[in-house]
Structure formats: C-alpha cells, structure tokens
Amino acid sequence: MRHRLLAGLPSPHPIGLATHLELHGPSPLLGRGGGDALIAELEAAGLRGCGGAGFPAAAKWRAVAGRRRPVIVVNAAEGEPMSAKDRVLMTQVPHLVLDGALLAAQALGARDCVIAAPAGVHAPIRSALRERRAAARPAVRIKVEASPHGYVGGEESALLSHLEGRAPLPRLKPPFPAERGLNGRPTLVQNAETLAHVALIARHGAAWFRDGGSGGIPGTALVSISGAVRAPGVYEIPAGTPLPDVLDIAGGRLQQVRALLVGGYFGGWVGGAGEGLSFDDASLQSAGVSAGAGVLVALGAADCPVAETAALTAWLADESAGQCGPCVYGLGALADLLGRIAGGRTERGDGARLTRWTEMVRGRGACRHPDGVARMISTAGRVFATELSEHARRGPCAACGRARLLLTPRAREAATA
C-alpha cells in the first residue's frame, strides 16, 4: 500500500512547502459551514486520537466548537520513550501537521495555536512556518514552545500547566481542556499524528481514509517498531495488518519472539508475535490491549520478561508526577513487589498482593498514569504467568543479567519506506 502520511519519504531533507503541495495538493479553505462539515467528515472517517487514549477526534472538536476564544495545542511532546512517530512527522513532514492544526483553527474559529514539541525538533518546524509566512499572510498566530521533559509531561493537562509557566503536573478532570484549558480558554489538545490525518481527510474525505483500514482503526497508522527486529523504525501501516506481519515490515525477526509490548509503556503485553491478532481496535481489545501511541516492542526469547516487566514498572513508578497518593505509594509498592518476584525474594501472599494492588491503583489518580501501569502489569501477569512463578520460586534466570530491552533509547528515528 502506498504511503499517505509518509509520502515522499525517505528524503534527505524535510519535505518543503512546494513538494508538500505537489504530493498532496492544497489544503481546502473552509467556507461558511465548512467547519461543521469537516467535523462530520472526521466522524465518518472514525478518526481517533493517536496520542495514546484513542478518543474520537470529532467528539473533541465538537466539545470546543462554538466556545469563545479557543486555542489549538499540538501535542508533539512524545514522552513515550519507544515512540518516534511524532518526531518523524515534525522533522520530515511538518507541513502536514501544520495543515491539520490550521484546519482545526479554521473549523473552531481559533486565532491562536501552540505547538509543543521537544526543543530538538523546533528548527524544522520554524523553517516550515517561515516558508508559509513567505507564501501568505498568516491568519493564525502560531507559537512553538518546548514540551516538558518526563513521561507524564505529555499528558494534556500537564502539558497545559507547563505552557502556562507552571510545573508540568496533571490536573483533575473535569474541567476538561475543551471547557477550561490553556490560560482558562477552551482548548483542543490534539496529537501531531492525529492532525496529520486531519490534513489528508480534509483533502480526500472519509471514504478515502477508510479505504485500506479496518472498521476499528480506519486508514493507516504510524507505528514505532523496536526490539528483536532487523530494521527498527517508524513505519506507516494499513490499520488491520496482522501483528506478525507488522514485524516483517520492520525487516523481520532477529530471533524467536516471546511477546510484544503493544501501545507503549502504558500499553500491554501479548504473547508470541501476536499471532491471531491484528492492528485494529476490536482485535487488540480482545487481548486486553490497545493501539495506544502505535508502539510495538518485540521481546526476544533470549530476553527475560520478568526482569523487563520489573524494570519497566520501577521506571514508571519513578515517573509518577508525585501528586496523588495511590499513584506514588501504589506504583511504588508494585515496583518493589515485582522486584522481589524477579529476585526470588517473595513473601507469602505476594501473588495475591500483585493482583490486589494492580486493581487498587486503577482510576485513582488525577491522570491515567496509574491505569496504564496497571494494564501493563495485568497483561504481564497473564502472558508471563509461568516465568513469574518460576522467578518467585527460583530467583533470577540466566537471561536476567542481559541488558534490558526496554528503557533503552527510543526506536530508531529514520522513517523507512
């Protein structure tokens, strides 16, 4: 299938405005009623947020539509260490994301837009903005701001706090950003990839978008593939691709694959190479996981799943924003417990404790960080049941001493054709 978002790549330079227009044609101007029509098109396309939560984009736009002085915030923070898709978009096809942001601004009547991205990707964004200013007088004020560091910093309310000059700490919702967001103004926070899809749906329509996708996740999706594959990187795949085939797209397996981490660190484990599952909502949900931020990490048979799960939990506990007791103490307790299991230093009742605490932290924070960790641990409990009980009884295995697969630098950044 032909690339859509990544059309024109690989390329030695970011895709400039002229090439962008050659590849995709001009972005439509929304006339009277055009905003509502675009929202209806996003709904017909079934576009869901690509930042992790998978919330329907049309519903989010409707929640902002009609409110006074709205703001568009492009979330390119990409706090997920195994994800590199937003970086690829911002550095290689920035005009696609800008089109999406400007369409959102037109549709919702916004005059202000903030792009929140790591400082390292500001240069290509700014040069894309300069190209546009040279071509036409901008109708929207676009600011480029540095996104906060840390895993939780990309959560929408933490991001907004940071943009307001305060610590990047999540806030309790409601109020949602659509009601009271940046500096109290109604705010659409949308992931960079979601907006890139908007740019293409506005041009080609919902039917075109759905073509090549599955009912659950229509269209194509960007996936960051890493771990035991020959060519880790960011790829554009048709939604609905069987998971084992996704590994082939990344050059194939380097060794037998024990499990896949799907979605991101907050995602979930599925056994083997995901045989019988495909990259669409319904299929992934049947395995207790979701597409999340489009991350796939292949854990090789030579890696220890227990050591990986314990290390990942410890890292995630450490990334807690430290505001909510159940997150601070609950994730801390889970990390200690998994560390004891991995080391074979268990106490009576630890198995039951693992289940109890995993359930206990769900839904208990101001943001969904504890829920993500709980999902990762509960899927690990299912997929790695044998290894977990073996470690609990016998202590570390031969593979425990290997370098950790997770918690190593992000998937290679090159977009691959």
């Binding site: 700490l169 999540p170 007791g325 103490y329 609950g330 307790a333 208990r364 101001a366």
Partner: protein, 68 residues
C-alpha cells in the same frame, strides 16, 4: 434534587482517613490510607453523611459532583 456523586481530588487528599470514619458505607481506605469511593450516585438517605464527610475533610479534597 439531582443525583450527585462523591469524588476525591487525589492531588489534594493527604490520607487523613477522616472521611472513611465518617462515611464507611461509601468510603474505604486502600492499603496506603487513601480513600476508595463508591462511584455511584449517593442515595438521598445517605446524603447528610456525604455532606458531613465533605465538610470535615481537612484537605478540602472531597466534593459532591452533579451528574454521572
């Protein structure tokens, strides 16, 4: 009167545990001393218990919130 739910702001709660003592029908403490609250609408006959818990929370972390 419209139904209301009892919610806690976990960023404000300091685990005093007062609420669970005042309103045990609706609030239990987790293994770390933080309140786990029934997510349903507070029934009318328990309404004053809920209000008392809200008023007595030293961290002003409890709220009655309309709608589900």
């Amino acid at each position: 009167m419209r139904p209301e739910r009892l919610v806690v702001d976990p960023t404000a709660c300091t685990a005093h545990g007062m609420c669970a003592e005042l309103f045990p029908e609706w609030i239990q403490l987790d293994d770390w001393g933080y309140p786990m609250i029934d997510s349903g609408d507070v029934p009318p006959d328990l309404r004053d218990h809920a209000e008392r818990a809200v008023k007595m929370c030293p961290a002003l972390a409890l709220k009655l919130r309309r709608g589900s």
